[in-house]
């Protein structure tokens, strides 16, 4: 090793090192040069491209949903409100593994299988990429904080505030006001280009009732904003904004107080009430009982809750009884009677001798008098039209109907809205059936038989009408033939709304206006004609209405009806031993309007009451109509009938002078 040092040439080694250092320096410069060329390429040559990419990264155009218009009742009470909630939403495109994320969320806030399923359904709908899809509506404060704390582990998950519908009266307005719910695929597909755009930021759409009818008014116009988002999809800044145009606030004729009264008056019964102001056509109350809580539908009803609603075959809470048809029974008699007068088939003096049944010439079958079937036998005896109405004599109307014929009956009755939908803005209401020869041939493929006419003349057989139609018909009698079509919408943003009715219904004209007075008198007798010495000369509803309230300050015109659900023989019905099961009992109906026969004030309210399996029109449905009328005339309108009468007397005295 001694030679090692001798071999070292320090100068040569130094030169070698310097040379190597110089080579390294050249490499350093070359590599830096390459780097700078790369940077110039990125920052100068491709600047425009990367600049656009950078903006595309962070700038997102998004929809701003408009606030849905509020719905008020007649007295300014909110029927449909908007309430802020917080939703848990997911942008699918920003989630690496959806299942994993959902599992993790499950460990945080307990997702039910139901929620998962609904979320998957929402995802499957045609959605614009990179839009957030709600996983859970109405996030609790606790869940909100759990999500917020773990936010960094949850890319693509956000808590978004949203306004959703809230129905303060819940069950009470479930059918009339209806509800909104999530837009489904069919609705989305039915949208045209413009609607698709307008609903870009909207999750909900009106499904039933007013919410659906006035969807266009209530929804408003979508807005837009350009926002800056970070890489987790959180909005950091708003850069540009086109404000949405909020939906219109609308007011209905509906009176929440009367609606409550009507609902309570139905008590434990299933049924419907429709009350109309004959002067305006405004629907004051429209109840279908039992209802359901429409709020459940707004944020996505769970399968469990939904199955409870649909499997209840007796109560069928989702079924709107107010706009679906039933046999109207004897409530059609005043209209038929008026038709008889108009067509000269009867007059004030015309009478029949009622044996308690009717027989077509040459036919052995007897049409019995339903009104008598549970009472003592025999007929009504000497009976004119008036008595036939207040005693609800079937035999009289069998005969009248038979002589009138189905064609005349059809054309006359249709003027009152039977078989048609007169409502301006309840287009979902059913039209029922006002049978005719054509109708039977088309739907049944059979000719019209004379017996069909007999059944129709007491509102049975093929004749079907909705409570809404019955209330409408009652209001036409109250108006003495003037047709004011029923309607819900009273005002838009406080401005009175006058609907543009394209095909207005013409008024009912009769040869002698006294016919109206005569029918009104007959219907008033239904309610007010008291018991007297003569056999069967009281009004059918006297006992349940006028006798119950002898202080009744106004007079009420009405007509009861019972509609057969199934054919039950007289023997069974009269037997004490056999109980007719509830769903087989007759439906009870009552139509009315008030005040009647007042020289000072026009009728203010027309009502149709339908009580499913209520059995007795006069004693079950009648008092319901009475209490609603009371509430409207005395509590809501606060009409002082005593003062009116004395004012009227003074007027008469003045005229006499």
């Amino acid at each position: 090793m001694a030679g090692k040092w001798q071999l070292k040439d320090h100068e040569a080694e130094r030169a070698l090192f310097s040379h190597r250092l110089a080579v390294a320096g050249v490499f350093v410069l070359l590599l830096f040069a390459a780097l700078i060329i790369k940077l110039i390429n990125l920052q100068v040559s491709q600047y425009e491209y990367f600049s656009a990419r950078s903006d595309g990264n962070r700038l997102h155009s998004q929809y701003v949903p408009p606030a849905r218009g509020l719905i008020y009742d007649n007295r300014g009470q909110l029927l449909a409100d908007n309430q802020p909630i917080f939703n848990l939403t997911i942008v699918q495109e920003q989630v690496a593994d959806l299942e994993e994320t959902l599992d993790y969320l499950d460990s945080l806030i307990d997702l039910s299988d139901d929620e998962r399923e609904q979320f998957t359904n929402r995802l499957r709908r045609n959605r614009v990429p990179f839009t957030s899809v709600p996983l859970r509506y109405v996030l609790s404060e606790v869940d909100k904080s759990k999500i917020a704390v773990n936010n960094f582990k949850l890319p693509g998950i956000a808590i978004e505030p949203q306004f959703v519908r809230q129905y303060p009266f819940a069950d009470l307005t479930a059918h009339s006001v209806g509800y909104v719910s999530e837009i489904n695929r069919a609705e989305l597909e039915s949208f045209d280009e413009e609607e698709r755009e307008n609903y870009g930021g909207t999750n909900h759409i009106g499904k039933t009732g007013i919410e659906r009818t006035y969807e266009d008014l209530l929804h408003g116009r979508v807005g837009y904003e350009i926002v800056e988002k970070n890489n987790r999809g959180q909005v950091m800044r708003r850069l540009d904004r086109t404000d949405p145009i909020a939906g219109k606030n609308i007011s209905l004729y509906l009176d929440s107080q009367l609606q409550i009264v009507a609902e309570e008056a139905l008590g434990g019964f299933r049924g419907a009430v429709v009350a109309i102001d004959p002067n305006t056509g405004g629907i004051l109350a429209m109840v279908s009982k039992p209802g359901f809580d429409p709020n459940l539908f707004v944020t996505g009803i769970s399968t469990k809750n939904y199955s409870v609603l649909v499997t209840d075959e007796i109560n069928t809470p989702l079924f709107d009884r107010s706009t679906n048809p039933y046999p109207p029974g004897s409530t059609v008699k005043p209209f038929l009677g008026l038709g008889g007068l108009q067509h000269g088939l009867v007059d004030y003096e015309f009478t029949i001798e009622d044996p308690g049944y009717f027989r077509l010439p040459g036919v052995s079958y007897r049409w019995g008098d339903y009104t008598l079937r549970t009472a003592i036998g025999g007929g009504h005896g000497h009976t004119n039209l008036q008595k036939a109405i207040y005693q609800s004599c079937d035999t009289f109307f069998y005969d009248l109907g038979n002589r009138m014929g189905i064609d005349t009956m059809h054309s006359f009755m249709s003027q009152f809205g039977f078989g048609e939908n007169f409502a301006v803005d309840i287009n979902y209401a059913r039209t029922g059936v006002l049978p005719s020869r054509d109708w039977k041939r088309e739907t049944r493929g059979e000719p019209w038989y004379p017996g069909d006419t007999i059944n129709s003349s007491i509102g049975q057989g093929y004749m079907w009408a909705t409570p809404l139609q019955l209330a409408t018909a009652a209001s036409i009698i109250a108006n003495k033939g003037k047709v004011v079509q029923p309607r819900m919408l009273k005002a838009i943003d406080g401005e009175p709304y006058l609907p543009d009715i394209r095909d207005p219904v013409s008024d009912v004209l009769v040869n002698d206006p006294d016919y109206w007075r005569y029918i009104e008198e007959s219907m008033t007798m239904v309610v007010h004609r008291a018991y007297n010495d003569v056999f069967r000369e009281y009004g059918t509803a006297y006992e349940a209405i006028a006798m119950e309230d002898r202080e009744m300050p106004y007079r009420m015109a009405g007509k009861s009806g019972s509609a057969q659900v199934v054919g039950i023989s007289q023997e069974i019905l009269q037997s004490e031993d056999i109980q007719v099961s509830d769903p087989n009992k007759d439906h009870a109906l009552f139509i009315s309007y008030a005040p009647a026969e007042s020289p000072n004030i026009k009728p203010q309210i027309a009502i149709a009451v339908f009580v499913e399996n209520g059995e007795h029109g006069s004693s079950v449905a009648g008092p319901i109509a009475k209490s609603i009328t009371d509430a409207y005339l005395l509590d809501i309108l606060q009409i002082d009938f005593a003062a009116l009468d004395s004012a009227g007397d003074e007027l008469i005295a003045l005229v006499d002078e």
Binding site: A24, F32, A34, L39, L42, Q43, Y47, S54, N231
Partner: protein, 380 residues
């Protein structure tokens, strides 16, 4: 700037200059290097403030680390470089021993089991020490042998380099292993290894790389290589970093978006924006001009370092200084090239800019050694 010449020419002429000269001498500090490093540190903190989203605590901690680094640098500079020469084999043996110890009782952090938590000492990474211990040993080994090195010496050099490198690779810290190996290789290159051997080695490496890729490379390493050739094969996964960082750099343009205005970095599109990818933040906010300023500052430090190596008195100092400064360059270039898409992604920080602890101190130890070489050479 040219201290050496200045001193020779001004000998006895200007007592004031001599006085100032001697102050730096006494402090064993090299003013140009100090200025270059300080400017880089200041600029680094400035960028970090923006990259961290205005988080003062992050900047304060990094500033504190730098102060510690400066102190360590000054302390190291006080030792005569020959002290390190004498102790190099001992330091090396101790370092390898600690690496072995890490394998037994090491603590894992960020996927690498490289930390040692000895009682009475702050926890540290022995692999970091090897970044200057290995070139120190190589300089000691080759400087005492005739240059250019013989084949026998090269063989032992390779062994001395690869033993610690292998130990570090076992710790699963490939980045550090590459740096340690490179620092050793730079010594060998500067020592005058024959070009034909270099070229042969380079060709061998090229030929071996496909085999490495197929048989040895781990999945994430393969991914990084594939992503380098086409970032868009997995734009939201492996390619995300490089795509977003290129968008940041490109959208910065010539003049940049302004300090604190980088949308890419402030909206968290750039991952690791405080550490490995801080250049993307700088390039986005300060544009091409900012990057050129950074490169020129690095170049300034590099030139000064090369000068120190060039004028050093003995071969050990030359080789050590040369290796330190080239390793520094290697860091700078690899990071910048990777962030701008010129090289595959390798997890290396940008010296003096990236947020970090131990590696910053290691860097300053290197600068301390340079200053020691520069300031102790003439006192003898």
């Amino acid at each position: 700037m040219n201290n050496q010449d200045f001193i020779r020419q001004s000998d006895g002429l200007d007592s004031q200059s001599r006085y100032t000269q001697s102050i730096w001498r006494t402090l064993h500090t090299d003013p140009p290097l100090l200025v270059g490093i300080s400017v880089l540190c200041g600029f680094g903190l400035f960028v970090l403030f923006s990259a961290s989203g205005g988080d003062v605590s992050v900047v304060r901690r990094q500033g504190l680390t730098m102060v510690v680094g400066f102190v360590v640098m000054i302390i190291v500079a006080q030792f005569n470089v020959h002290f390190f020469r004498q102790w190099a084999p001992t330091l090396y043996a101790a370092g390898v021993g600690l690496l072995g110890l890490v394998l037994v009782i090491g603590v894992e952090a960020n996927g690498a089991k490289s930390w040692l938590d000895l009682p009475g000492l702050p926890s540290f990474q022995p692999s970091e020490l090897m970044k200057f211990v290995v070139p120190m040993l190589m300089a000691w080994y080759l400087a005492s042998r005739p240059l250019p090195p013989r084949f026998k010496h090269l063989f032992w050099s390779a062994v001395l380099i690869l033993v610690p490198a292998a130990l570090i690779i076992i710790q699963n810290d490939t980045g550090t292993a590459i740096m340690v190996t490179m620092s050793g290789i730079f010594v060998v290159l500067l020592a005058g290894i024959r070009w034909r051997i270099v070229i042969a080695g380079f060709i061998a490496l090229l030929l071996a790389s496909p085999a490495w890729f197929i048989f040895l490379a781990q999945e994430h390493q393969k991914n990084r290589i594939l992503t380098f050739f086409n970032p868009y094969r997995d734009p939201t996964g492996a390619g995300y970093n490089i795509i977003q960082s290129q968008i940041a750099i490109g959208s910065g343009g010539i003049y940049g978006k302004g300090w604190g205005e980088g949308a890419q970095s402030h909206l968290d599109f750039i991952p690791e924006s405080n550490t490995d990818f801080i250049l993307a933040v700088l390039a986005e906010e300060f544009g091409l001009l900012g990057v050129l300023f950074l490169i020129s500052m690095y170049l300034f430090v590099l030139v000064r370092g090369c000068y120190i190596a060039y004028v050093a008195n003995d071969m050990f100092s030359r080789l050590l200084a040369g290796s330190i400064i080239l390793t520094f360059f290697f860091y700078v270039f690899v990071n910048m090239a990777m962030v701008s898409g010129l090289l595959p992604v390798i997890g290396l920080p940008l010296p003096l800019m990236s947020r970090g602890g131990t590696s910053v101190v290691t860097l300053f130890i290197g600068f301390g050694l340079l200053m020691s070489i520069q300031t102790h050479g003439y006192s003898r």
